[in-house]
Symmetry: C2
Subunit: 255 residues, 2 copies
DNA sequence: CGACCTTTTGATTGGCGTCAAAATCTGTGG
DNA sequence: CCACAGATTTTGACGCCAATCAAAAGGTCG
């Protein structure tokens, strides 16, 4: 297999974001041992496709900066966004029965990643059971969030679902990408457009727009181009049955 | 914490189903080492609640026989079934940030399980990286199936979603619970009623019924009380965009 | 046999989709 | 700084899928 043609070497010598997700759990002085497993730093531009669903891949990666969407297409041309990845997330390790990564990955903003080839991940697990446990925790955390989205899509109205989506992303961005939060204005950089939100929730962008207009009228949010401010967090959380505790650091099954 | 009041000791001396999910991957002659980690065999009757969402639990388990549903409730009283568990599945290891198991578990038929307390699972992982890897694989497999269901709920019509649900369960039952397949009639024992299917797909049982009537008229399926026969597998798979390869043995990320 | 649960059917309603077009914004190049 | 192409957001009219409400019919199990 070949690395995606968009893949370019990047100068990450001044990267400040660590592989929080994968190595955040282990002892500080152990972090350097993980350096030897870091295979390659790369960057992508907004719109680049990092991977196409159902094709081979032999690495996973940590997202350093930017924002990715993971999604699937159906034959009828529709798209379901499965997950929005933010800095610190560990991505690309979920292979299906064929060993393929079952979803496509696209950068919605300029993004930098750090690769770990599968062979090395396997070695890491063999040599360090702390990281193995951490990897299990991360996968579990993924599952839990995924199940929350099932609730969203299955049982909530479009209005409730959108309230949840906004609160989830708003909260995660404040935790995982604090630079995108403007302390003065209270605005965050919001990476998704209305079409993306629609494909996350399984409804049309026209309907998304109508709900957003209502949210604005009700004074719950204000937003412009890729900017969003949540004016009434509590109300929006109520509408969406959003539980902030899900956004905190993943639970450590093994402390 | 206490084990659920419904929990009863069971005589599993003649259990024929192994912990396929967790230990199926490791060398046969290593299986016996896992014996010492098996903590407790228990059984439940149809309708028993094994666990209530958002409460503590300090064990996970393999389902030996029967059928469980994992689900969440919303305040408005609706229920979303997240997953149907069949024999061999490893259940109950997905804790949220609070360390709680985030879904309820109910037996839909009489069921037998085999417990593993968290402490022992941790030990297993420390002592045997094969099982650690297997545990990662299982969690990944869960995520992949969960994402498939997101597609179902987000992008498919009720008809397409039901076709997928029937094919998924039909296929999994034939693999994981072969005794429930009648070679002569071609019927399987189908554990869900129409209300359960409705709560899996996020639609009403009235609408489920209307679709089932149509499927019968079209000669795609026939079904009676907890019995189901898929007459035209190919057509039903097409309608639901069902891919049989997802049902096979979970992918081994590390062989 | 009777209580209860599940399935089936009908009539009506409403949320969201579809189609279409206008308005606004964005980034680019002259 | 302005002009322009293209993307994104906004608005309106109309239709359909699935929800809701209600009740009957059929099956299951004690």
């Amino acid at each position: 297999m070949t690395i995606n043609p968009h893949l370019k070497d990047a100068d990450c010598s001044n990267c400040t974001v660590r592989s929080r997700a994968l190595f955040g759990a282990i002892n500080k002085d152990k972090v350097r041992i993980t350096q030897k497993y870091r295979d390659k730093h790369c960057y992508f531009s907004a719109g680049d496709i990092l991977h196409r669903e159902k094709s081979k891949i032999n690495y996973a990666f940590t997202l350093y900066s930017g924002c990715l969407i993971l999604y699937n297409h159906l034959e009828n041309g529709t798209r379901q966004i499965l997950r929005v990845s933010l800095p610190g997330d560990f991505v690309g390790f979920s292979r299906n029965n064929e060993g393929d990564l079952p979803y496509s990955i696209q950068a919605v903003t300029d993004s930098r990643i750090c690769l770990f080839f599968d062979d090395n991940i396997s070695k890491i697990i063999n040599e360090n059971s702390d990281i193995a446990k951490r990897l299990i925790d991360l996968q579990i955390n993924d599952s839990v969030l995924c199940q929350q989205r099932l609730l969203n899509l299955g049982q909530k109205t479009a209005t409730e679902g959108l309230a949840y989506l906004i609160m989830e992303l708003y909260s995660r961005i404040r935790v995982q990408s604090p630079d995108d939060f403007n302390q003065v204005t209270g605005e965050i950089f919001f990476p998704l457009n209305q079409a993306d939100m629609a494909d996350s929730l399984g409804i049309t962008k026209v309907h998304i727009n109508r709900i957003i207009v209502i949210f604005k009228e009700q004074g719950l949010i204000s937003c412009g181009h890729k900017k969003l401010k949540v004016i009434n967090e509590q109300k929006l959380s109520e509408i969406g049955s959003f539980d902030i505790s899900l956004i905190k650091e993943p639970f450590r099954h093994f402390s």
